[in-house]
Symmetry: D2
Subunit: 343 residues, 4 copies
Amino acid sequence: MLEVGIVGGTGYTGVELLRLLIGHPDVAIRVITSRGEAGTPVADLFPSLRGHLDLNFTDPDPAVLAACDLVFFATPHGVAQSQVPALLEAGVRVVDLSADFRIRDIATWEQWYGQDHGCPELVGEAVYGLPEVHREAIRTARLVACPGCYPTGVQLGFLPLLERGLVDTGDLIASCASGASGAGRQAKVDNLLTELSGSFKAYGVGGHRHLPEMEQGLRDIAGGDVSLTFVPHLLPIVRGIHCTLYGTLKDTGVDLQALYEERFADEPFVDVLPEGAMPQTRTVRGTNSCRISVFRPQARDKVVVLVAEDNLVKGASGQAVQAMNLMFGLPEARGLDYPALLP
Amino acid sequence: MLEVGIVGGTGYTGVELLRLLIGHPDVAIRVITSRGEAGTPVADLFPSLRGHLDLNFTDPDPAVLAACDLVFFATPHGVAQSQVPALLEAGVRVVDLSADFRIRDIATWEQWYGQDHGCPELVGEAVYGLPEVHREAIRTARLVACPGCYPTGVQLGFLPLLERGLVDTGDLIASCASGASGAGRQAKVDNLLTELSGSFKAYGVGGHRHLPEMEQGLRDIAGGDVSLTFVPHLLPIVRGIHCTLYGTLKDTGVDLQALYEERFADEPFVDVLPEGAMPQTRTVRGTNSCRISVFRPQARDKVVVLVAEDNLVKGASGQAVQAMNLMFGLPEARGLDYPALLP
Amino acid sequence: MLEVGIVGGTGYTGVELLRLLIGHPDVAIRVITSRGEAGTPVADLFPSLRGHLDLNFTDPDPAVLAACDLVFFATPHGVAQSQVPALLEAGVRVVDLSADFRIRDIATWEQWYGQDHGCPELVGEAVYGLPEVHREAIRTARLVACPGCYPTGVQLGFLPLLERGLVDTGDLIASCASGASGAGRQAKVDNLLTELSGSFKAYGVGGHRHLPEMEQGLRDIAGGDVSLTFVPHLLPIVRGIHCTLYGTLKDTGVDLQALYEERFADEPFVDVLPEGAMPQTRTVRGTNSCRISVFRPQARDKVVVLVAEDNLVKGASGQAVQAMNLMFGLPEARGLDYPALLP
Amino acid sequence: MLEVGIVGGTGYTGVELLRLLIGHPDVAIRVITSRGEAGTPVADLFPSLRGHLDLNFTDPDPAVLAACDLVFFATPHGVAQSQVPALLEAGVRVVDLSADFRIRDIATWEQWYGQDHGCPELVGEAVYGLPEVHREAIRTARLVACPGCYPTGVQLGFLPLLERGLVDTGDLIASCASGASGAGRQAKVDNLLTELSGSFKAYGVGGHRHLPEMEQGLRDIAGGDVSLTFVPHLLPIVRGIHCTLYGTLKDTGVDLQALYEERFADEPFVDVLPEGAMPQTRTVRGTNSCRISVFRPQARDKVVVLVAEDNLVKGASGQAVQAMNLMFGLPEARGLDYPALLP
């Protein structure tokens, strides 16, 4: 039985991580910390867990965390940086769901996140937790930096094209949309039902923190410079990310459907849909699956890739559990292999 | 391994039954029939099941069904009546999710359902599949008639009061609301997103087919006549039923909270909330749990009971699986014991 | 041209009042105050008004308000109490959308609102602004206390029955549901889209501030004591209130449809639907209309009344404009007579 | 008083046209036809109009229509083609909301709409009803072909860039999303609330009928060939279209904000937002306004234009009324100049 701890579990990635770990047959949740909610039964904050988890939030205690095999950080950025070194020192492995260790260039991180990086010395060691790209490194990693929700979809969608050098890397576009849970469990007027329901809008067009993460990942895949235009939109739904990706083909003779099917044939959580089918976010809601379609409209030189995932699962907590499974030699899909609730 | 078949699986109770059975460790789904969709892969109709179920809809074949241990009917009313006798004859046990065997009085059934009853001789044998009331009979039943979605909530909510004779049975009120999946997967203008979204209305105030079923069940519990006023409403959500029940207390001295907690203490799927808490449909979405609160507002003589359940799970397919577990000596919660997706 | 001012206009009743007054041919909005947003263009806070209102929020200035013909208070409770006396003194008439002057019994007000009443001497003079009951008094009132959103629906629904003494006044039930705009434009986790969307729940079962207001109004209509059980619920929609009212008929021989049609025949904003029809909140969304149906299910002794209104219009700002029209001798429906947006 | 008729008014553009015309001070609705609903009071089909329109649907009667000043066609494609010639002959002017006269190339029309064109001789005369491009021609037109909902947003968004030759016309991308009312009032399983709610997907990626219409319009504006990649998506909301447009700038030195503000300075229904602001569909819901923002993310060579409109108003019925105003010398904004309902 794997003993795990969670630091910061009062947000939506926290409750989703709890849900997944409760259903995982090889995991025991030993501790979940929250300074603000210390003493509160977890099921009081998250009534969905009532009857399924008999645990209170506690103040973080280094000794208790150090006794875990693995600690997840589901904290705002800046927190993991200060606590990870001691845990690694104590032999605990770490999966960080925050942005702290995702970006290799420290100056870029500090620019986008508006603070000094508290632990630059571990950034180089951290493995970027996208199993479809870094599976082997994740298996042996001490510290895994889980990808952001948008970066997961955008990288998986462009992956086969960039690996094979089939598109113009200077002209990539990602028109994406996310459910409101991506904005977290924070009391803000902008995220009230009355403000979002029945409406749709773009946001962060001028600049979004996921852009440098995506460009870094796409560069790694392409083996060279890339330029991505990224426009996120806010959907009046709770969960789900949809990415519509546009690229200019250098060669229109490639069988795109075959390319995608072959690239992801062995991937447990990437599902390339049959030709002509289009993914819907609801068919992956609550699951770790990422569904992808590829099109060449009007047989012109533009390729359109559609990607659907659940921002809280494959885009966050599910991907974290997938990484955990890899790190501890468990079957990769353990605890993650069930169909979506539909309708 | 229990071998099960499903007759009629193209509706929402069908896909929900499939989801639950896919996750059930002791069940193998042998066959799912649909005249209209024969030959279609199930996952084409329900993309949520893609990768989880490799089965096509088939035309009903009596021999194939007769080889099952259990057959579920997820059909419109009138269908099970004609096929159940042969299956029982063949030694197959049956769980019927339709209304065919719920009402003992044949004339009442025929009046509300507008057709002759095709199998009155089995109505007496059929066990009403509400485990909280008929658990022992379900264990040995050949034929279980699953309760309707509203009747489940209304009966569970009034149960402790009626068993103990604490309310005026001539003055029961059930003000209920259901998500749109209760109306089924049918192409009707009234059920379009454009017609329902952002709106709320009552329906069926003049008369609803669940009324005679509820009054029959409440009479059984009360051991005498009852009069129920039932007003259903339509919520612009997919899943969930909420019942707000009103009764007039004959004795205001009873500790209602203790009464409810004690009555349901051993029930795996009825969760009496702490005093003052109120159930939300989302906290039971996708689960077989029924959550109940009880109040006596302003310390007057009215009791208010709040009940939340998922109409497709505890109100239909989950309750059917619970019955199956009982019928075959499996742990009652097998395959049904997981938390809701939240948010 | 009527010159009006608005005190506190940063909430949802404020923006709705602005929308209605912008479309009113006889009104000029002179000033809108907000301490928190002083200096901000109104259209920056409410982009729907961009191009339609060229006004900034200002700090409240008694002289400016005193120069108006009418001042609306769209403030939290407790504010109007302190400012109304000076305005009346200056000859300004006041329509208060808050709860400050709704309840005649000061002790009751103080108990439910948890503070001392700041202006008890004007409570007796304030006219309760429900035109269907107090039309003549509103015409000449200096101070109108607009009814709450739930009280409007509940009183209009029970009105014909109570006026004629047709129901047991000791056994009235109001099972109501409101859209989330009823909770106001406040940054609270509970009101996030992620917390409310796709869900339904009751709230305030133990006690809600609208209960004493409703019982006071119903007593006035009935001419004697009443006992009301009131259970509000929260709908995952933006606008709309639906009331399902239950009463016990003392005489089942009355023609209820005729009773309702006759009572409201001359009311511009109460629409009794044809027999058998049921109101939907969306058909009155954005309008001042209140739609009502009456039923006697199963021809028993229970009467069921269904009421739909828009909580921000007939339940707040529209009713305030209707009162203004009456107070200044304008046609009662002026500025309020347009159909709902549908779908 | 302008006397107007409507052919085919049982869909969502029909009811929206009725709502707008009811509120228009210079219009009298003389007749509304529907073969399927002949005899039905309009307010029975559309309860929002109850009390506002006392008219029944009738079978189409050429004499009655010929007595109108203007006839609107709110019919499926193929219908207007057969009836327009006789009306024009009779001196009636026509605004066609369907696709019948939008595309000048008959072969293209026939290919995308899958039928022979019934009236090719009038296609050349028909004026494409986008006032921002064809205002003067609309004033004198006998026959106006109203633009589709997506084409309105896409053309208005690209207009300033293409007129000035600032972007690569071979590389235009329109990533658009529409509310479900765009799919019409048709009984289809795919459009049920249970199928769409809480989900998002692309559709028609392989080819959508609005593509040739858009490319024709963009060619006209650009004065040369264009290539557009168009991906529509389906939003789980009732109303609203959002277009996110991508182009490659030939010159990055242009002041895009000034360009857009100047181009649309005199347009009553195009509102260029302040720099950095982003349009939301809800702020134009129910209105004829089209809101636009323009960005150059990361100061690279890509321009991103955001457009929000109401698909049933500026994308259909409002634009038709705007055309009518122009055709009959009325103020262009008459009957269309009111703020959106918000929240």
